[in-house]
Subunit: 128 residues, 2 copies
DNA sequence: GGAGTATTTAACTTGACGGTTAATTAACCC
DNA sequence: GGGTTAATTAACCGTCAAGTTAAATACTCC
């Protein structure tokens, strides 16, 4: 079995599954009901639901022959935390880099020619 | 090609790639350097980097024969937004459901036996 | 130019994934 | 019980992702 982060990200990586979640965000639904807008077979939906359930993004109950799905916020909360933590670190790192680059440019403008050969500058300079 | 959300989530769905990002969060690194802690071959790393680059989670430059990778915050910002939007909707929906269930329980405790056989209606009952 | 290092490309294997159809199970209604 | 509907399981197929090794490319240094 896999770690929960992998489980959740993989589950969210499929557009059909995200669409299912979007659907479920408007309320509980049955398999048949979920299959309707997607033009794929019921077994396919069942599989998607299993993935989502396994990632604890949804949970299911029973109501007669139906098995309604509903959204389960906890998993998404976890993901939100992860993403946000990293985002913070990255932005910070990015700012540092930014500052560093500015410094670099300053000193480069002062010692321009020396770096010319040592530096492969032509390719390096033309970032994108 | 795929939509950016799918691209990003798939990229993040792999534990090796997340580990690479964690590594990069501490600063730029080369392929060789990134491969070290992972016990997988350099070409494998190259592939992972391509995936990450394709998802715009990292970008790369050239420095002599090295090709250092650095983190690119924009993509993660996008994901953060998506996750957070959904999370909000879900929590809200969850609260509604919660309230609804509480109501159900109250009314059920008043009309217990009648719903025993016939309660199929509740499936649609809670909608919109 | 030639040796050496870093990285990528090519070709291939393997396994998982998303889909299908057909058959099965579970519940309802009459 | 028999028929109907909802959903799942089973068996299968094609594609793609992740890994490998071996060869090619890109650059540095002498």
């Amino acid at each position: 079995m896999q770690d929960t982060l992998t489980l959740t990200f993989s589950a969210l990586a499929d557009p059909t599954r995200r669409a299912i979640l979007a659907q479920l965000a408007r309320g509980e639904a049955t398999v048949k009901n979920l299959a309707k807008p997607f033009a794929i077979s019921a077994p396919a939906i069942t599989k998607h639901l299993k993935v989502l359930e396994n990632a604890r993004l949804i949970s299911r109950s029973r109501d007669a022959q139906f098995r309604p799905c509903r959204i389960e916020p906890a998993a998404l909360r976890e993901i939100a935390t992860w993403v946000d933590d990293y985002r913070q670190i990255w932005e910070q790192r990015f700012d540092q880099l930014d500052a560093y680059l500015k410094l670099q440019m300053q000193s480069k403008s002062r010692t321009q020619k020396k770096s010319e050969t040592k530096k492969k500058g032509s390719k390096n300079g033309g970032e994108k």
